[in-house]
Subunit: 205 residues, 4 copies
């Protein structure tokens, strides 16, 4: 996939996520891996409305999340995309500001445990007897700090990272798989929030 | 209805359910009964995004849910579709991953009781003095186990089965009736969840 | 407005309400008053998907809700539409299966009190110092029973009736005003439900 | 930007907000600043469905919110738009009837405190160590009273005002920035409502 194809795919996916309310304001960013040696990602440009991106609103970045060419600034979170792409060998990473993961993380700061739920299959895990712990890390503006926390808790079997009071990163072999997993995780976390009663302070007692 | 017509109808219905958020990831599957002697169903193919199916993303299966022809794999749950089509004499079965039934089942593992609600008419029952118990069965990856549990609790008057921690099956004479019933049941279960306070741990006390 | 124009307007409004999830299955029905002497209403036909009505899916009914001409059956609730049109001198009546009014009625069976909320202006009332009691009546399949209950609690200043465990009737001078009022009432009742905590059993204690 | 361009932009933004359910009935209104010396605003006309405005459904108003020309009545709240435009030097003000701010204000009548949430960046603040207090003022039909309350609590760093039991005003340099901030604030307040359990009476204890 070249940068133009990547830009087109990222714009289409961004519009889809924006319509779901998962990229409010100019929040969130998506990337696809263009190459591995050296590592190159196409990342959505920073500060734009995610509902109206075009194929040129994309930046090619390197291992550090620094722009390789072009004049647009990449997303500030490009470095974490690059690190996830490298460590998890992801072909695509979506960073969304869904509400459900942030609410779930508030109640489960040590990680959100999911188990025995069919929707886990859509997240890449088993529907039975497979305890999934979605890691939660504290928010930071320092992508190295976030990346270290991600790597410290990285489990190759769990394609997601929740950043507390911030949002979620989900990855997969390609953008479609990353989206499917993000959709399934969101469903799972709404279920968890409902059952845990995270919506009520009584629920915290 | 031949397989092409069925494929077209299944693709249209799938896109509709996907837009409602009831087929997240690649979850859920739909079927229509093509013939009864021998039993033949058209089932959506496995592993595809349900928002973008085409008329060819369909598989003809037999009594056991095994493909009769073609190269696409049918949904893993095709065997349960076939069993429901046979036992309930359904013309169409929709299997959806709506959140409300799964939340309701979590609280009501022995079955979800509905009574004296107008929306029950859209589910094929009476609005008054007619106690409806929507059966809940434990989740399983073995379609025979699920099918036996379905059949054990089968009441011809109740066109739905909730699979705990999984989703819901709803059926009818055709796809439109199955959809209408699925819509009405979802409404009813959101009502039940709200009144039962399933969203709060206090509600479980 | 003649029957064809009415049919066109009713189809458009129905599609709009269906897209909002307020006419699940084939539930709900809409009417406009065609004439007053004698009373004539155009009512949506019974049993159809409200998202795909056409201008001919409409029935002209009289004072009793009985069809004046044509072969389509009117909605079973046409008689209540006619009674509301007569008593409240409404130009349009919308009967919707919104969830919020049914939840609110469950908690407030004697009527839902609203006061000091700006959105009351969109419902035809004042934003301050104006106590609004939206009447709640028990559900019935007998339109005369429902109509008597409606009339017993009728206040010309309150253009809505909630039928417990069923849905809501809202009316106005024309379809647009009825819709605006239905939208505002739904907002108000979601607010009330949230503040009253109707979603929790603790809330009933 | 001239009045026609402003009308076009206001109509497009209104349709967008209406589709999100944030301008139910004919509620809410939007404005852009046309000039500062003297102050001139383009404000959406009063009493219209916000989903179907055209470029001519706009009124030019002065410092007092009084129409400068044309025959359409401006929104009754035009005077508050003008005051916000003047005091906050806003290029655009959006007044929405989102549910989340009204619920949050009910629980936090002295102001809604937000802190250490990434989404605050989309609201124009910092994601860390920056306590944001979104002011809440009592509702009034007197725009001078509302304006005085706004000005008394005005903090140039906080581009929003919640009017209790009414709705929210959000502003920015232009309509897009105002929208982005309104989207982010809504997200933040849904989070706050969820964590505070405003949806439950237990939450008020």
């Amino acid at each position: 996939m070249n940068l133009v194809e990547a830009g087109r795919a990222l714009a289409a996916e961004s519009a889809r996520f924006a319509a779901l309310g998962w990229m409010r304001g100019t929040s969130g960013n998506l990337s696809v891996t263009l190459g591995r040696d050296p590592l190159r990602l196409a990342v959505t440009a920073s500060g734009l409305d995610k509902g109206t991106l075009t194929e040129t609103d994309v930046v090619e970045v390197d291992f550090h999340g620094d722009p390789v060419s072009g004049s647009l600034p990449p997303s500030a979170e490009a470095a974490l995309h690059a690190r996830i792409a490298r460590v998890a060998r992801a072909g695509a990473v979506v960073h969304l500001h869904q509400l459900a993961p942030v609410i779930a993380a508030e109640r489960n700061p040590g990680g959100i445990v999911l188990r025995d739920l069919e929707m886990l299959k859509g997240f890449g895990r088993a529907a039975h007897d497979d305890e999934v712990r979605v890691p939660v890390v504290p928010n930071s503006q320092d992508m190295r700090v976030l990346g270290d926390a991600f790597e410290a808790g990285f489990d190759p079997a769990t394609p997601a990272l929740v950043v507390a009071r911030h949002g979620v990163y989900v990855w997969g072999a390609d953008l479609e798989q990353a989206r499917h997993r993000a959709e399934c995780l969101e469903w799972l976390l709404r279920f968890v929030n409902s059952v845990q009663g995270t919506d009520t302070p009584g629920g915290f007692a």
